[in-house]
Amino acid sequence: MKLTIKNWTGVATWKWVANDDNCGICRMAFDGCCPDCKLPGDDCPLVWGQCSHCFHMHCIVKWLQSQPVNQQCPMCRQEWKFNNK
C-alpha cells in the first residue's frame, strides 16, 4: 500500500499570547474585540505596557485620554508606557 496525502486541511484557533483572557478595561475577551470594534485580531489589536499589563489598544487609548493628568495603568497604577516589544 502506498499512502499519499495530497492535502491536509487543518483547523486552528488563533489567540493572543497574554497573561490574561480578558481585557481589564472592557472585560471582553482578548480574542474577541473591544466594545467599539466589530472585527477581532488585526482590527482590534492588544498592546502591552512596560508594567507587563495588556489591554485592547482601543481601550487603553480611550482610558488614557480620560486621564488628563497622570497616565497610569488602570491595573497597577504605575505610569503607563507602551512596551514596543
Binding site: T4, W8, T9, V17, G41, L46
Partner: protein, 750 residues
Amino acid sequence: MQEVDVQDAWIFINKIFPILNSSYPTVYTKEEFYKAAKIIKELNLTCFVQDMVILKIETSLRKSIIPKFWSHFKSPENIKPFYKFLKAIDSLYEDYSKLLEVINALDMLRNINNFDKPIMGEMNIKNSLKLMLKSTMFSQHHTSYDKVISYFYEEALLLEDMDSFSSKQCPICSLLDCSNCETLFLKANGKLIEMSLLGPLTDQALTDLIYYYINMHIQKTCKDNFDTSYIESFEKWLDRVIITWLKKIYCHSEVSDRSIADFDKKLRNYLYNTYTKIRINQLFNIIIEYPDSLAALEDIKICLPKTDLKQYLIKKLQQAVETRLLHLGVSTSDVLTAYVAAIRSLRFLDPSGLLLEVITQPIHQYLRSREDTVRCVVSSLTEEGPNDLAEELVRGETVLCDENTIQDSDENWETWTPESSDHQPSKIPATKRSSDIISMLVNVYGSKELFVNEYRTLLADRLLCQYSCDTEKEIRYLELLKLRFGDSQLHYCEVMLKDIVDSKRINQHIKQDPNYKNQEIPISTMIVSAQFWPPFKEEKLELHPKLLTQFESFTKGFETLKGSRTLCWKNHLGIVDLEIELSSRTLSLSVSPVHATIMMHFQDSNRWTLNDLSKTMQVPPTVLRRKIGFWQSHGLLVENEQDIFLLKEETSEDNIVQDNIIIEDYESESAMASAQDQRDEELQTFWSYIVGMLMNLDTLSLERIHQMLKMFALQGSSVEYNIHELKIFLDKKVREHQLIHSNGLYKLPK
C-alpha cells in the same frame, strides 16, 4: 212530458257510456246522444250517471290498465329497458285515449244538462281523469320500476351524447346512423306529456340519472389534472348536452319552460357541488403541486361562494394534512415544502388569511415538536437550486417577529367566506396578517436568535467541511440574511466568513516565507476566531509525528507574521485528501484527520493492537474501533484476532466497495456541539440547585421545580428555560439514574 221507462233509459245510457257495460268503443249518433242526455236530465240522473262512469273508470284503471302498464316493467330481462318502457307507454296511452273518449262524452253530457258538480275537485274533468290515472299509478308503483325508467332515459341520453363516444352505432338498436330510436323516444315523451305524467313519473329517475351522468363526466374529465380550469367547460357542457336534451324531452309541453328552469337551477347547483367536492378531496395534492395547480385553485375559488362547502373544505383539508403530512414517515423538509405550498395556495384561495390560519395551526404545532425543524428551514434557506424558502428570502422583507400575529384573530372562521375574485384592492382587510412565509416560520418559534444560531452552526459545518467553499457566494447570501434578521444577529457569521478569506491569504504568506519548511505533507490551515464560531466538539487526537512537525513549522510562520499571537490546533478537525495505491486499484478519498492518522500509522507498521493504537493516538478504544471500521468497510484493514488489526494488502473482489470519493462518516457528523448540548451544559449549572431542593423537600413536581428555579436560580440570569426543556433535562437525569420519576413527582434515588 213523456214518461220514460227506466229500463229504456238504461239502454240509452249504456249506448252513450258503454263503459258502464264494460265495453268499448262508443258508437252513437249526435241525435242519439242528445236524446239520451234529455232522458237523463228528465229522470234527474245526471249525477248518478257521472258517479257510475267515474266509478267504472276508476275500477278499470285500478284493475286492468295500471296493472297492465306496470307489468311491462317486469317483462323478461332480455328485453332492453328502452323497449319495455316504450311498450308500457304505448299501451297505457291507448287505454288512456279510450278513457278520454268516455270523459269527453261525460263532459258533453254535463254541458248539455248544465251540470257542474266537480269530479275530484276539478271542474275540468279531463284533469280529473289525469288525477285518477296518476294516483292509481302511484298506488301500484314499486321502487324497482324506477330502474327501468332510469335505463330508458340513460339509453336515450347516450344516444343524445353520441359525440362523446365517437361511434356512429346507435346505443339502443345497434344500427348505424339510426334516426328511428330518437323519434320513438320523443314520441313516448310526447305521450307522457299528454297524460301529464312526464314530470311525476320521470323526474326522480331523470334527476338521478343526470346527477350520475354529471358526476361521471366531471370525474373522468378532471381526474388528477390540476393545471386546467374546467368550470366554464362544465357549464357549457351542461347547456350543450343536458339542458338541450331536456328541452327536447319537454318540447311539446306548456310547462316546459318552468320545468326546464327548475332543472337548470337544480343541475347547476349539483354541478358546482360535485365539482367542488371532487376538487376539495384533491385539495391536498393541489396544494402540493402549487403553482402548477393554480387553475384548479381558481375553480375552487369561483365555486365556493356558489356552494355551502366551506366547512367541508376545512374538515377535509385538516384530515388530509393530518393523515398525509403530520406523521413520522414524512421528513421535516417535506413538511416544510408542503407548508410553504399551503401558505401560498391558501393565501390565494382566501386573501383574508383566515383559512390559512385554521389549516396551518396544526402544522405549526407539529413543526414545533420536531427537533430538526430549524435546521431544515435554515438549510433550505441556504440550499443551492430552486427552492421556495430561498425565493422568499430573496424577496427580502424584514421579519416582523410579532408573536401575536398568529393568535390575534377574533374573527370566527365558521363564517369564513372566500373573498370574491373581483374584489377591489381597497377591500383588503384592515387587519393585514403576517403573510410573509419566513416570518411565519420564525413565528413558529417566536425567536430570531434560534434561527440565526442554527444558521451559524450550519455555516460553521459547511466552512469546515469545504475549506475551498465559495466564500463570495456565502457572503452574498449573508447580506440577504442580514436584510431580514438584522446586522447584529449575523455579525458572528460575518467574522467566520472573514476568517476563511483571511486564512487563505495567511496560508499563502506563510508558505512563501523561506523559513517555512515545505515537507512531504502539503497542509493548509483554517485559522478561526474562536470567540465568533459556535463551540467545537472537543475530541482528543494525537497526530502522526510527521504532521506535528509540519504544524509546528506553520505555527512558527504564523507567530512571525502576526505578532504576539499563536495558534491552538484542533487536531480532530479538518479534511484530509488522500490517495491509496494498491496493487489492483487506487482509492481517492476525503476523510477526517482521525481516519487519515490511522492509515498513516498502518503505513509505518502493518499490524496494530487496538490498545497500542489507542495509546498512540490518544483516542479511546471504543471510538477508535468505530473509526477503524471505516477502513474495514473499504477492505483495507482486517481484524485478524480479537483487537488486532492488520493491513490487508490485496483486496478480494467481494470486499471492494466503490472507489469514488466517500466522505460518509465524515459528513454525517457535525463538528459543532449541538444546540441541545449547549443548553444541557447551561442547565447542568442548575443541577446542584435541583439536588438541593429535592434533599430538603423530598419530592417535587415538574411545575414546582420550574417555579423554584425561576425564583432562586434563574433570577438575574439571562437564561430562560421553558418547562418543556426542563422536562427533557430531568428525564435525561432519570435515564442516567440520578433521579427517580414516579406518580408525576421527581425525587432523588436513595
